[in-house]
């Protein structure tokens, strides 16, 4: 029971303020009416006992109804409760007025309270309806009274009348006071929450603003944080409503305007990060998030936005991006360095290594062009030895070279042994403008240094201006150093291989020499010593005819031995005595050789075809080269066989892989079978003992050609003539 009473006197919370206030008012009114009706019963009993019966009935009705109203409010039936309360009051007044004799009854004033209480009902229409119903009821009571339908008016004493009036006054007063207080409370609450919101809005670490709903985006409100954010007084944004567009970073302007345009079309959330320029000309990054606020019917009202300062985050991001880009670059450099290093340590052939290194560096760093120059022997010229791309090939094809002097970056770099950069090549006078590389904007020249000696330089060119940093130079110089060492290694290796090959050749020659001495020189000795014995026998027996014959055999063998010894001496001289090479027109050499062979050539009626116009100038030992031609042409003449139209042709047949001219001497004589092609160049190898000679001619020719850095070979079929080919470097 106590629990129930507690619950009964506890007003529950409604979801909105207005309902809360109405509930409290209705509640208070119900309790107040119940208490007043009780008081009315007591007053009636004292001042007007005649009214007691009616007062008790009324009080009973009021208390019962009030109780119902309270229960309804407890159960959130606010509207029904208030209607019930007002209806109850109307019923009490109407019944009172009718029974007390009509309009003149003091209770008639009670309609005023009904109308006043009608204001409590949340639904305004019902309030109006109750007012009208009260007035109408009053009119009906009057009509009934005029027509004598009502009982005769009740005669109140003046005190009773006053008592009733006072009762109504008190009720009115209570209702009015309660109403006013409730309104004040509502107003206070509203003001308080507004202040809270405002304080919240103006204390968060972000700037809020309200912009007009159209695309122009006038500033209608901006929170004071803007002053801290941008340094401009808050007024600036209100007085100049488009001020925010004026402080937009020019690079972001278009992007922001496009986004603004887009969200004004769609009404979607605006969320853009951009830069603003503060009063003290700093650039800050803000995140701008704005929502289009709509009213209850969905019509756009304004843009409510928030500016958050994200400068620190952006800087961190930028720093991170920078770091990533630097790391990426370093990784590429390391990777390239590793690949260059691998190539440098595994490839000994410079013709393969240098183009590979140039391509590696050019591709990995995305450069425009990379070229490697090596200094030639005289140290006056740097010769392009490897280059990337089509332009590179074009330059290689034309034997592109630069003088080692200050007139070019490469020349300067080699002369001084230092790296050089031209960040905008137009500005650096030392750059030699190259029409084949028109897009170069930055150029770097790195010296190739090994064992303290500059052996060349590497040029690296980019289409971007000012692209090389000091870190790049360090990294690339490291690679250049590796390349320089690799070049040195390859050179040493080639030198060693050549030395080995030469040694092998010399060993083979020595072996041949020993063999020759033990066989070819022994042969005449056997004859000499053998026939010396028979000479004695001949002398003893007096056989003079055989004596003469045997003596001739001995003499012949001695001569032959002499010739062999001379040839051997000659052969050993070639290796040691060679005249300093000079530039000679090959035409002269051929002419001299033919002149020397004039006798045998004319004797055998041999036709000579000499392609003089194709002969280049060559570098070599004049006398030795004449010997070569003399031997080859002489051999050709010797082995003509019974050819009816003996012809010897001398000419050139292009160049070999080393860019040496290929010469040939062709005859239409007896030819040489395949199996002898190797043997013919061997010392004292003669294929036909019936023909004069010691068999040293071709050995000599081969030696001389090889000493000049050339090669000699033969193309021939037995019976189909022979062609001797040999190469010589042209001047």
């Amino acid at each position: 029971m106590t629990k129930f009473a507690n619950r009964l006197f506890h007003i529950p919370e409604y979801s909105d303020n207005e309902s809360n206030v109405v509930a409290r008012l209705t509640y208070n009114a119900a309790i107040g009416l119940a208490l007043l009706s009780l008081a009315f019963v007591i007053i009636s009993a004292v001042v007007a006992p005649a009214l007691l019966e009616r007062a008790v009935i009324m009080a009973f009705m009021v208390i019962f109804t009030s109780f119902g109203v309270m229960v309804l409010i407890q159960n959130y039936k606010l509207q029904i409760a208030s209607i019930l309360l007002v209806s109850m009051m109307w019923l009490v007044i109407t019944v009172g007025a009718i029974t007390a004799g009509g309009v003149s009854a003091p209770i008639f004033i009670g309609y005023m309270i009904v109308i006043l209480a009608g204001g409590l009902i949340p639904n305004k229409r019902i309030g109006i309806f109750i007012s009208l119903a009260s007035i109408l009821t009053g009119i009906l009571v009057v009509i009934a009274e005029i027509n004598g339908l009502l009982p005769p008016p009740f005669q109140y004493s003046a005190i009773a009348r006053l008592g009733i009036y006072i009762f109504f006054f008190i009720v009115t007063f209570l209702l009015q006071t309660s109403n006013t207080r409730s309104l004040q409370m509502l107003l206070k609450q509203a003001l308080q929450s507004q202040a809270q919101y405002k304080s919240l809005l103006e204390n968060i670490p972000a700037t809020t603003y309200i912009n007009s709903k159209d695309e122009t985006a006038y500033t209608e409100y901006v929170s004071p944080q803007v002053e801290k954010l941008l340094g401009y007084p808050r007024n600036m944004f209100i007085l100049d409503t488009l001020f925010w567009k004026k402080i937009l970073h020019p690079e972001d302007y278009e992007r922001v305007m496009n986004a603004n345009h887009a969200v004004n079309m769609t009404g979607e959330l605006f969320n853009v990060e951009y830069r603003l320029i503060t009063k003290d000309q700093r650039v800050i990054w803000v995140k701008d998030e704005a929502t289009l606020v709509r009213n209850e019917s969905g019509a756009p009202q304004y843009w409510l936005g928030v500016w958050t300062d994200i400068t620190a985050r952006k800087h961190a991001e930028e720093e991170q991006a920078d770091l990533v880009s630097v790391m990426t670059k370093r990784t590429i450099q390391l990777q390239t360095a590793a690949e260059v290093s691998r190539a440098a340590s595994s490839i000994l052939d410079l013709n393969k290594l240098l183009p590979m290194v140039a391509d590696l560096i050019c591709n990995h760093f995305d450069y425009y062009y990379v070229g490697i120059f090596l200094i030639e022997e005289s140290k006056k010229w740097a010769i392009l030895s490897a280059a990337t791309g089509k332009q590179g090939q074009q330059m290689l094809d034309t034997n592109y070279r630069l003088k080692v002097e200050d007139s070019s970056m490469i020349g300067w770099c080699i002369k001084h042994g230092e790296a050089r950069i031209a960040l905008d090549v137009g500005e650096d006078a030392v750059r030699f403008k190259n029409p084949l590389l028109p897009l170069t904007r930055s150029e770097m020249a790195l010296p190739l240094i090994t064992r303290g000696e500059v052996i060349g330089a590497m040029t690296i060119q980019s289409q971007l201006p000012a692209t090389f940093t000091h870190v790049d130079i360090t990294a690339l110089q490291t690679m250049a150093d590796q390349v320089a060492n690799a070049i040195q290694n390859a050179r040493l290796f080639t030198e060693r291989v050549n030395l080995n090959r030469e040694l092998e050749t010399q060993n083979a020659e020595l072996e041949r020499f020993t063999y020759t001495v033990s066989h070819d020189l022994r042969s005449p000795l056997v004859t000499i010593r053998g026939f010396l014995g028979y000479l004695r026998q001949d002398a003893e027996s007096g056989d003079l005819i055989r004596f003469d014959k045997d003596l001739a055999r001995v003499a012949n063998a001695v001569d032959k031995m002499q010739a062999l010894l001379n040839d051997l001496l000659e052969l050993s001289r070639i290796g040691r005595i060679i005249n300093p090479p000079e530039k000679i027109p090959f035409r002269e050499i051929v002419a001299e050789a033919i002149e020397l062979l004039n006798g045998p050539l004319e004797e055998n009626d041999i036709r000579m075809i000499v392609q003089e116009e194709s002969f280049p100038n060559i570098f070599g030992d004049h006398a030795r080269l004449v010997e070569v031609m003399q031997n080859l042409v002489g051999n050709a003449a010797k082995f003509m066989g019974d050819q009816a139209h003996p012809t010897i042709e001398i000419g050139t047949d292009g160049e070999d892989a080393d860019k040496k001219t290929i010469f040939f001497v062709r005859d239409n004589g007896i030819g040489i079978d395949h199996q002898y092609h190797e043997r013919i160049f061997g010392l004292f190898n003669r294929l036909d003992p019936s023909i004069d000679g010691t068999g040293i001619g071709l050995t000599l020719v081969k030696r001389i050609i090889e000493i000049h850095g050339g090669r000699i070979w033969i193309q021939s079929e037995s019976g189909a003539g022979a062609t001797f080919y040999f190469t010589l470097p042209h001047a």
């Binding site: 033990s518 066989h519 022994r522 042969s523 056997v526 053998g530 003992p689």
Partner: protein
């Protein structure tokens, strides 16, 4: 000499050396039984009945004296041809050359030479060698049946 059974085939490009061999063998009265060839090609033509010797049955030698460095077909190639032929390989081949080179000695024996002799420098030494050679191969040595 054609038609006569010959005893020695001499393959030698140096006419002086051939003369020395023939003269020293004279003392064994077989000088007329020596047949001299100046190069490998003619020697093989004789043995295989071809070229200049085609169609004529030729006497088989008891022994072949072979020089190594010969024009046209080299001595080693002559040796190979003989030793690879089922019929001819029974004929003893004595290499007689000026070369002392190990390489030549090895190659000769590798190709089944029956003996390797270096021509001595000196009259007496040459004579002695020819005497011994004549005795050994033509007197002491038993030859396989000679087919005609």
């Amino acid at each position: 000499m054609v038609g006569e059974p010959i005893l020695v085939m001499l393959v030698e490009d140096n006419v002086d050396h051939a003369e020395l061999v023939i003269r020293t063998l004279e003392e064994h009265r077989i000088a007329n039984k020596v047949r001299h060839f100046l190069d490998g090609q003619s020697a093989l033509d004789y043995l295989f009945h071809r070229g200049d010797f085609a169609g004529q049955p030729q006497a088989r030698p008891h022994v072949i004296l072979l020089d190594l460095r010969l024009p046209r077909v080299d001595g080693i190639d002559v040796l190979k041809a003989i030793k690879e032929d089922d019929d001819l390989k029974a004929i003893p081949v004595v290499v007689l050359t000026t070369s002392e080179a190990e390489k030549d000695v090895a190659r000769a024996y590798y190709n089944h030479a029956n003996s390797y002799l270096v021509k001595p420098v000196g009259f007496e030494e040459f004579k002695k060698l020819m005497d011994d050679l004549g005795f050994y191969w033509l007197s002491w040595n038993t030859h396989p049946d000679i087919k005609e």
